[in-house]
Structures are given as structure tokens and as C-alpha cells.
């Protein structure tokens, strides 16, 4: 658990970078800090592992004040991933990934097993990469190693500073999805900095939207999209926030909330898997690929059909509910 308690950061005696920040990241939660550049999100992240000092207030990491912890020991218990992966060109991939276990004095066998396991986890073949060097890997592969390195000593908490920001969109989407899978399995407590609202909506359990060192809203993605706390939030999440929020719901959510229409065979219908997001569903309809979509589960059993007005009805309901 990471608990921010009245955290304030003042530069040069008068420039307030962070003002009275109060919020909590619960165990196993992935919280994304979002905001325009200069809003203080990276500063706030770096205050957790004390790469930035805290002027006033405190951050409690699993009940312990970071201001009064031993910095070196604490940092070894926090996974840290940065945008430009920061791999060391003088070390091969195994040494890079195992740098923290090495500092902690793990034995060779344990480190090797851990390396193999982590590389499998991030989708790289351990034996193929073990002896290679960072410059021989693509940006995406390097960032995978960066994630493996941060996970090496199995820290309960991870700090990630725009980890996928420097990658091209296709690789980024891939890594986001893979990382979500990993997170589902490992349930780390993660504080994550991003400037990309789509990334935040897709990945976060909660979003912290910052501006000028102040918290604008701290809420679940759906709530932030459907019920922005003020005009800044509304503007930041975008005019198309309703569309964005639809990527948070699957066709099954709709099927569970409302009664589906009966299936009517027509040339203008298409099948859709119930695990797909509503965003996919609506774009199919708007794209005039079909007037109605027939909902199927994984076994191919038809559950009913959805149309544009049914989606509309669902959205009204959701927006009202989250008020």
C-alpha cells in the first residue's frame, strides 16, 4: 500500500511542484498518474523511492515512512521501470536483469532460475537472450527486459515512469496487454506515470489526474470518463470520453445489464464475441458492417442481438449509475 499524506514539494523555497497530495494506492492496485507535462506526476513518483526529496508531509509505504527508511534498502524492494529502459550496455541481459538479486547476494542457481522464469513471463526465450547485449535488442525487447529487471527481486511495489512511452503504437499496445496479463497474475501494487489517456483507461484500476501539482480527480476510469469532477478533467479526458468509456465495457456487461433483442436472421447482421469491448461493437455498427450484432459466447452459442439503440440505453444507464 502506498499512502500519500499531505505530500508537498517546494523548489527553491517558493515554486510549489506538488501541493498537499493525499491519496492511497491499495495493495494489488494499478494506479496511473495522468496529467499534462509539468503537472508533477513524475516528481510525485520519484518521491516514493526518494529520488526526489519530500518538502512536507510523508509517503507511507506499507505502513513505513519513506522519509525515515534506509533509501538503498527501500529502493531494492521497489521495482523501478523508466521510459528509456536504462539497461546497462556494459552488462549482458542476464546481468542486467539480475542486478538487484546480485546486490542482495542471491546464489547463482537461484538467480538463474529467477532469470529463466522472468524471461518466460515477459515473453523472451531465456537461453536466446542470456548472453546478448542491450544494443542487440529492439526497443520493445529492451523494455521487456526492463520490466523483468524491475520484477527480479519480486518487489511488492512497482514504480513505472512512462514505461511504454517510447515505443511505436503497435508494440506499445502489445506490451500493455501483456503487462496487464502479468499484473493479473502477480497482483503488484503499481504506481504508473502516463500522459496517454487511452493507456490509462485501458490499464488502470484508478486514475489520478494531476494539474499544476494538485489532484484534479482520483477515480476509476469509468467514473472519470462518465462523470468528470470539473471542466479540466472533462477537457483532458477528451470530447470523445463517452466513446473511450465504451472500451471499458464488454458486450457481456451489456448482455448482463439489459435484455438482448431476439436474434433475427438478416443479411445485415454479424456475429460478435461477448468478450469483445463495446467500442468494437459500436464501430462495427457505425462502419455499416452490420445493423445488428449477434452476440455469441466462446462456444458459439447465440445469446441474442444488439443494436445501436440498445448500446445507447446501456450508456445512459451506466452514466447515471456512476453519478
Amino acid at each position: 500500500m502506498i499512502h500519500f499524506n499531505d505530500v508537498t514539494k517546494v523548489y527553491n523555497g517558493n515554486v510549489k511542484a506538488i501541493e498537499n497530495m493525499n491519496f492511497t494506492v491499495e495493495d494489488g492496485e494499478l494506479v496511473i498518474m495522468l496529467g499534462p507535462s509539468g503537472c508533477g506526476k513524475t516528481t510525485l513518483l520519484r518521491m516514493v523511492n526518494q529520488l526526489e526529496s519530500i518538502t512536507d508531509g510523508d509517503i507511507m509505504l506499507n505502513g513505513k515512512s519513506v522519509r525515515h527508511s534506509n533509501k538503498i534498502e527501500m529502493r531494492r524492494n521497489i521495482g523501478y521501470v523508466i521510459q528509456s529502459n536504462g539497461l546497462f550496455p556494459n552488462m549482458n541481459i542476464e546481468d542486467n536483469a539480475m542486478i538487484v538479486p546480485n546486490l542482495l547476494g542471491w546464489d547463482r542457481k537461484k538467480m538463474r532460475d529467477r532469470f529463466n522464469m522472468l524471461m518466460e513471463l515477459v515473453g523472451l526465450k531465456p537461453d536466446e537472450y542470456r548472453k546478448r547485449y542491450p544494443h542487440e535488442l529492439s526497443g520493445g525487447q529492451q523494455q521487456r527486459v526492463g520490466v523483468a529487471r524491475a520484477l527480479a527481486a519480486d518487489p511488492p511495489v512497482m514504480l513505472m515512469d512512462e514505461p511504454f512511452g517510447a515505443l511505436d503504437p503497435i508494440i506499445r499496445t502489445h506490451l500493455q496487454e501483456e503487462f496487464l496479463q502479468i499484473q493479473k497474475e502477480l497482483k503488484k501494487t503499481i504506481l504508473f506515470v502516463s500522459h496517454d489517456i487511452d493507456e490509462a483507461v485501458k490499464m488502470a484500476d484508478k486514475i489520478a489526474l494531476l494539474k499544476g501539482g494538485k489532484m484534479m480527480q482520483y477515480a476509476e476510469p469509468a467514473k472519470m470518463l462518465n462523470k468528470p469532477a470539473n471542466s479540466f478533467v472533462a477537457e483532458f479526458v477528451g470530447q470523445d470520453r463517452v466513446l473511450k468509456s465504451m472500451s471499458l465495457y464488454t458486450v457481456r456487461d451489456l448482455a448482463n445489464a439489459l435484455t438482448l433483442k431476439p436474434v433475427m436472421e438478416s443479411p445485415d447482421s454479424q456475429n460478435i464475441n461477448e468478450n469483445l469491448s463495446l467500442r468494437v461493437a459500436i464501430s462495427k455498427i457505425l462502419n455499416q458492417e452490420a445493423d445488428q450484432l449477434i452476440v455469441e459466447n466462446d462456444n458459439g452459442t447465440r445469446k441474442g442481438s444488439i443494436t445501436l439503440d440498445l448500446i445507447e440505453q446501456f450508456l445512459h444507464r451506466e452514466i447515471k449509475e456512476s453519478v
Partner: protein, 249 residues
């Protein structure tokens, strides 16, 4: 384009080697290295003095300049950089002959004055290359290392120095090669070295003395240069070497 470049490089190399061989054929035919065969003991003594001056001054310069370079690149002491580099610069701006003369003024005639003078003269290239090498280490890398809980000493030894090593060794190499040439002047303050034969040759218009002194100095410089190239190869971590190669191709 690449192909023509390579051809030109090859032609220049061939011309260079041809000239070199022609020179040695001429030199041997005219008995230019006769002094080396006639007085092998003297030759070895002068060569020994020459090498001693170069190695002692070089080693002392490395031992001072590298730690100094590390010191001024620590954030806390960064402000002292201009002062220390300024002082080292002073040693380099004064003509080498003047440095030797000044050293003789303090330490009198002999090998110690020459060692001190060349030591002062070598500080700057090593210091500057150490600073440049350490500065070129990517800040993100250091940030990542810090964030993972490496101590400052571990960051220096495991990250900064290995990544700066190419540049540091290049500095030492430059300093030593310059030193070998400058040490020929050590004769002027009575410190011996192969300069003894070179200057004798100049005074007597005797090419045999001149060549017997000058050619070994040149060869020594080339040998040291290659030795350090090899050292760079042996000491710089493999990953960095490969990365550099990949970048250049």
C-alpha cells in the same frame, strides 16, 4: 561510395608501407643504425631511461588525473571543475620545453625533474578524457541504477567507470604517446633518454646518431599506441565494444 573509399584507403596504405620500406632500406644501406650495433650498452641504457621517464610520469599522471576526474564529476563537487581543469590546462598551455626548464629550476638536473615535468604535461589529456567519459554516461542509466538501490560507489564501479573506460584509456594513450616524443627533450635537463643521441646527431650533423635515436623513439610511440589499443580491447566490456562497432557500421 564505400567501395571507392576502401580502395583509396588501400592505395594510401600501400604507398605508406612502400615509403616505410624504402626508408629502412636506405637507412640500412647507409649504415644509419650503426650506433645501435656499435654501442648496444649505451643504447639500452638510453632506451631504459627514456621508458622510465615516460612510464613513471604516465603512471603518476593516471593515479592523480583519473581520481581527480571522478572527483570533479561528482554532483557535489562539480563546482570545482573549472578550477581543477584550469590548473591542468596551465600545465598543457606552457610549451613543453618551458615546463622542463621550470621543473629543472625547482628540482635541479636529473631524471626526477623530467618525470615531474612530463607528469604535469600528461595530466590534462587524462583528466579531460576521464571527465568526458564520465559525462557521456547516460543520465537515465544512472537514474535507473539509483532507483534500483545501487549505492553511489556501486554506480561508479559497475556503471560509470566501465562505460567511461574507452575514453579514459584513449586519454592515457594520447598522453603517453605525446610523452614519448617530449621525453626526447629530457636530455636538455640532463635526464638522459634517447634524446641524447638525437641532439648529438643534430650538433654533429651526424645522421647515424640522429637516426639511431629518432627511429627507436618513433617505434616506441607506435608500440605503445598499439599496446593501448589492445588494452582497450581487453579491458572495455564486450557489450560496449560491440555496441560501438554496431553504431559505426
Amino acid at each position: 561510395m564505400d567501395r571507392t573509399n576502401k580502395t583509396i584507403a588501400l592505395i594510401i596504405k600501400l604507398i605508406f608501407w612502400a615509403l616505410l620500406i624504402a626508408f629502412f632500406v636506405w637507412a640500412f644501406a647507409n649504415n644509419m643504425f650503426s650506433k645501435i650495433w656499435e654501442q648496444p650498452d649505451t643504447f639500452l641504457r638510453l632506451l631504459g631511461e627514456h621508458i622510465t621517464i615516460v612510464l613513471l610520469s604516465g603512471a603518476a599522471a593516471v593515479l592523480l588525473a583519473v581520481p581527480l576526474g571522478i572527483f570533479v564529476t561528482r554532483p557535489k563537487f562539480r563546482k570545482s571543475e573549472w578550477l581543477i581543469v584550469g590548473i591542468a590546462n596551465l600545465g598543457q598551455t606552457i610549451p613543453s620545453l618551458a615546463v622542463l626548464a621550470l621543473a629543472m629550476g625547482f628540482l635541479g638536473i636529473g631524471i626526477s625533474a623530467a618525470v615531474v615535468a612530463l607528469f604535469v604535461y600528461s595530466l590534462l589529456p587524462i583528466l579531460q578524457n576521464t571527465i568526458a567519459g564520465l559525462d557521456s554516461v547516460d543520465d537515465n542509466m544512472i537514474d535507473a541504477a539509483k532507483g534500483m538501490g545501487l549505492t553511489n560507489a556501486q554506480i561508479l564501479w559497475k556503471i560509470e567507470l566501465p562505460n567511461a573506460l574507452t575514453s579514459i584509456i584513449a586519454g592515457v594513450r594520447t598522453a603517453l604517446v605525446i610523452n614519448i616524443g617530449t621525453a626526447a627533450l629530457a636530455y636538455l635537463i640532463g635526464a638522459g633518454g634517447l634524446g641524447v643521441w638525437i641532439f648529438t646527431g643534430i650538433r654533429l650533423f651526424d645522421n647515424a646518431f640522429l637516426m639511431s635515436g629518432a627511429v627507436p623513439v618513433t617505434l616506441l610511440a607506435i608500440v605503445i599506441d598499439y599496446l593501448f589499443k589492445w588494452l582497450q580491447f581487453a579491458l572495455v566490456p564486450k557489450g560496449l565494444r560491440l555496441a560501438r562497432k554496431a553504431q559505426n557500421s
